[in-house]
């Protein structure tokens, strides 16, 4: 039953989803405007909301917007993004720069840094969308093998630091963020490994059939 569950059926059951899919660009832009203006001060009031809610939401919107690009444009990026390597490199680099504590402080008071942060997060989401499927398990594994340990170590450092790393945020908040980053890194690793095992098991089942002449 579950295996036969597919997107076209879901669309018949829930036409709203289809509408959402067709209107995803204006919706994503509206969500972006909401995040950038009325919700900005709320989400930047705490270190954990800033990094664990605002960052992922902007990355997700970057994903949605890149997914809506015309097929011709997406194909054009292929030559520059073999196996998604350039895209995932861009993502890893953006995430490492954004984990420098000074950036969180500067993004609150320095408009140029704030604009750079938003563009980098959108680009990160777009690069992820354009590269993830293309990458395959090996490149995906290499990417996550770099990003997740970095995230875990950053989380541990945030927890261990007796001093506040950001002048604008509370020490307790930094502790929560550190714990959440470690949990997130482990959770993403577990989910990816499970998905990778599933896909490997599936491909090994279909292999004999493909091997036949």
């Amino acid at each position: 039953m579950i295996a036969s569950f597919s997107w076209p059926r879901l669309h018949r059951v829930l036409p709203a989803l289809d509408w959402l899919r067709r209107q995803r660009v204006p919706l994503a832009l509206a969500a972006l405007a909401l995040l950038a203006w009325p919700l900005r001060s709320v989400l930047e009031a705490s270190m954990s909301l800033h990094m664990l809610v605002q960052f992922p939401l902007v990355i997700a919107l970057g994903c949605v917007l890149a997914g809506a690009l015309p097929a011709r444009w997406r194909e054009r990026t292929q030559g520059w993004n073999t196996y998604g390597i350039a895209g995932l490199t861009a993502c890893a680099l953006v995430l490492s720069v954004l984990m420098i504590p000074r950036l969180l402080d500067l993004a609150l008071v320095h408009p140029v840094v704030a604009a750079g942060k938003w563009l980098a997060l959108l680009a990160c989401g777009a690069a992820l969308q354009l590269s993830w499927r293309r990458a395959g398990l090996v490149v995906q594994g290499f990417f996550l093998g770099n990003v997740l340990p970095m995230m875990g170590v950053a989380g541990q450092l945030y927890q261990d630091s007796p001093l506040r790393l950001c002048n604008a945020y509370l020490l307790q908040d930094q502790l929560w963020l550190g714990q959440a980053l470690v949990v997130l890194a482990v959770a993403v690793a577990v989910v990816w490994i499970a998905a990778a095992m599933r896909s490997l098991m599936r491909s090994s089942q279909t292999l004999p059939a493909e091997a036949q002449p």
């Binding site: 030559g79 520059w80 993004n81 073999t82 196996y83 390597i85 350039a86 490199t89 861009a90 680099l93 953006v94 490492s96 720069v97 420098i100 504590p101 000074r102 950036l103 402080d105 500067l106 750079g116 001093l163 506040r164 790393l165 950001c166 002048n167 604008a168 945020y169 509370l170 020490l171």
Partner: protein, 209 residues
């Protein structure tokens, strides 16, 4: 593949350059570290704000701390604070004792500025000074007279005060050394009390920055 590799190289260079700018060539990782480095490279003049306190009639902070004769070690605090300000108080007590002992330290002064000027009245400051056994010849307490000026002073000296939601504040407590012209020339960590004192003595004796 060549195009992918060259794009990766450009991305790596761009990230290296951005992170280098953000961390002052990989020397500091936090805004507080950057603040201390930037102050050491380029002294920050005090803004014109009026302060008052026990034994200090309302006057321009620059006249108090930049009178051309004395080097001042400044801290920011509020009287109801029961955490870091208390350790700042102890640090200042020890520095006061060191200054009182040594006659050649005649040109180093201590100044505690309250950033909660709305609640810390001159009476509160006087009581606090008494509790700290502050000798007004060496160590004075003031508040900024109005809220806008307080914000101006905090912004210029890059003191960040965050309300913690329980009526208290967390702030980047440090030892700020002002030269005789009233410019912030160094920011020392609380643990660098001896270094801050020695540096202030060196400046007061006519040493160079």
């Amino acid at each position: 593949m060549l195009r992918t590799a060259s794009l990766c190289a450009v991305l790596l260079w761009a990230a290296y350059a951005c992170a280098g700018w953000l961390t002052h060539d990989y020397q500091v990782w936090t805004e507080e570290g950057a603040r201390r480095l930037e102050v050491a490279l380029k002294p920050v003049p005090l803004p014109p704000v009026t302060v008052e306190g026990p034994g200090v009639p309302a006057r321009d902070l620059r006249a108090l701390a930049g009178n051309g004769r004395e080097v001042t070690i400044v801290d920011f605090f509020y009287t109801r604070c029961v955490t870091v300000c208390l350790s700042l108080g102890t640090t200042f007590q020890q520095m006061q004792a060191a200054l009182q002992r040594d006659a050649k330290d005649a040109h180093v002064r201590l100044l505690s500025i309250s950033f909660d000027g709305e609640r810390d009245t001159p009476g509160d400051l006087a009581r606090y000074a008494q509790r700290m056994q502050a000798d007004p010849a060496w160590w004075r307490f003031v508040r900024v007279t109005d809220a806008a000026a307080t914000q101006r002073l905090l912004a210029d000296l890059r003191v960040v005060v965050v309300p913690n939601g329980r009526g208290d504040f967390e702030h980047n407590a440090a030892l700020l050394v002002l030269d005789a012209q009233g410019r912030l020339v160094r920011v020392f960590d609380l643990s660098e009390q001896q270094l801050a004192l020695d540096y202030a003595r060196h400046l007061a004796e006519g040493g160079r920055l």
